[in-house]
Symmetry: C2
Subunit: 234 residues, 2 copies
């Protein structure tokens, strides 16, 4: 399993900066991301980032008009690292449950360094009015990476699901990922082992339930459950 | 169905104040609860409440050392009104699904007046470190009222559930209630009609699934699901 240290060693996915302006932007961004990881959300300020970059606050504002824009960079960075950690592992398995487990577990790995500051991130992001809410329009590109990972995990598995289920499962799994992240913020067990056990249990439940989804008995409850998820995601 | 106006007419459940100190406490409390309902969480301050009560800040501190203590009064007030709204309706039905619907729907009715301010309450309460977190020790008495309502809804229904399910269902339903409240904060539909539809769909799903819980096929998945909920609630 990839440790969080390994994840942070993944190459930066943003294009290599070429112009001076792009290099400045990358510098500010990298300093901000390290500050979020090391100081948390509350203690990271544009002023502090500017000072560490040896720039004026005005100059950083040109690239990032507010702290919220830096958080969106953080989301993209975390999810790009998530994808980079998950993809090589996904190549090694065609078992659906294993593949979903890879996506959830590498997701938790990538979040690990942020756990000490997770409550303050949550307070800042949880309001539906917050520009750093994970469900906001601004955060859509980062969330799309997670959804894409779940879609890939399903498409690349040898198990064939009923079309209706295959199409709607990625949204349900992404919602479960967000609820898992919420649980993880509350998880005070060493190494957040309870969050990992929750993944194991959830996947065990899915494994037991999947062979049943084609039975006439369960077709309607399963469709109802997917309707419920669609209602939540709408 | 009880409107939120009806709910607010329910008699106060705290004992009738007799001493001067008790009357002062009740006055401060009532002014604070009205302020939370009318101004929201952020704009309600101890100073403002003290002014409206014609008291010094120090005098209110004697009864309520912080704003958090007033929020706990609010939680108790909302849940006591929830119980008062649900109980007479529960007497009129012995159908399990209907009874659960009564608890969820009267819960949403009671929350309705707070919807404009719900995002700011959520931001303040969501951190696991927040003293007004609904899962905190301080908030346990209010949450116990909700759990008790679900337990009563089950015990008073004519449907007999397997013991294992009956014992563990109230926790699962209380967790669902908290997640419903989270969804409701995000619900921008008129009158939060989508939250009500979510209740309808969820109960429809439960209604379809309940006859199946005794089948050998589903006994294990159901137990796994309850284990998962127990893991989350622990």
């Amino acid at each position: 399993m990839f440790s969080s240290a390994d994840v942070s060693e993944q190459p930066d996915v943003s294009s290599t900066p070429s112009t001076k302006s792009e290099r400045t932007r990358a510098l500010v961004r990298d300093i901000a991301l390290r500050s979020f990881r090391e100081r948390g959300y509350d203690a990271t300020t544009i002023r502090l980032v500017a000072t560490e970059a040896g720039m004026s606050v005005g100059a950083t504002h040109y690239h990032f008009p507010s702290k919220h824009h830096l958080v969106q960079e953080l989301y993209l960075d975390v999810q790009a690292a998530h994808r980079a950690a998950a993809e090589p592992l996904l190549e090694a398995s065609d078992d659906l449950i294993e593949r979903l487990g890879i996506v959830y577990r590498t997701g938790l790995d990538g979040l690990a360094p942020y756990h000490p500051f997770a409550p303050e991130f949550l307070s800042a992001a949880v309001s539906p009015r917050s520009p750093i809410n994970p469900l906001s329009t601004e955060s859509a590109p980062a969330l799309a990476i997670v959804r894409g990972l779940f879609a890939d995990a399903i498409t690349g598995a040898r198990t064939r699901l009923p079309v209706e289920l295959e199409e709607r499962l990625p949204d349900a799994l992404t919602l479960a990922h967000l609820l898992l992240a919420l649980f993880w913020v509350y998880d005070r067990s060493p190494g957040q082992v309870r969050s990992r056990r929750l993944v194991d249990r959830g996947l065990g439940l899915l494994k037991g339930a999947l062979p049943l989804v084609r039975t006439p008995l369960l077709r309607k409850p399963v469709r109802d459950l997917l309707d419920l998820v669609a209602e939540v995601r709408a």
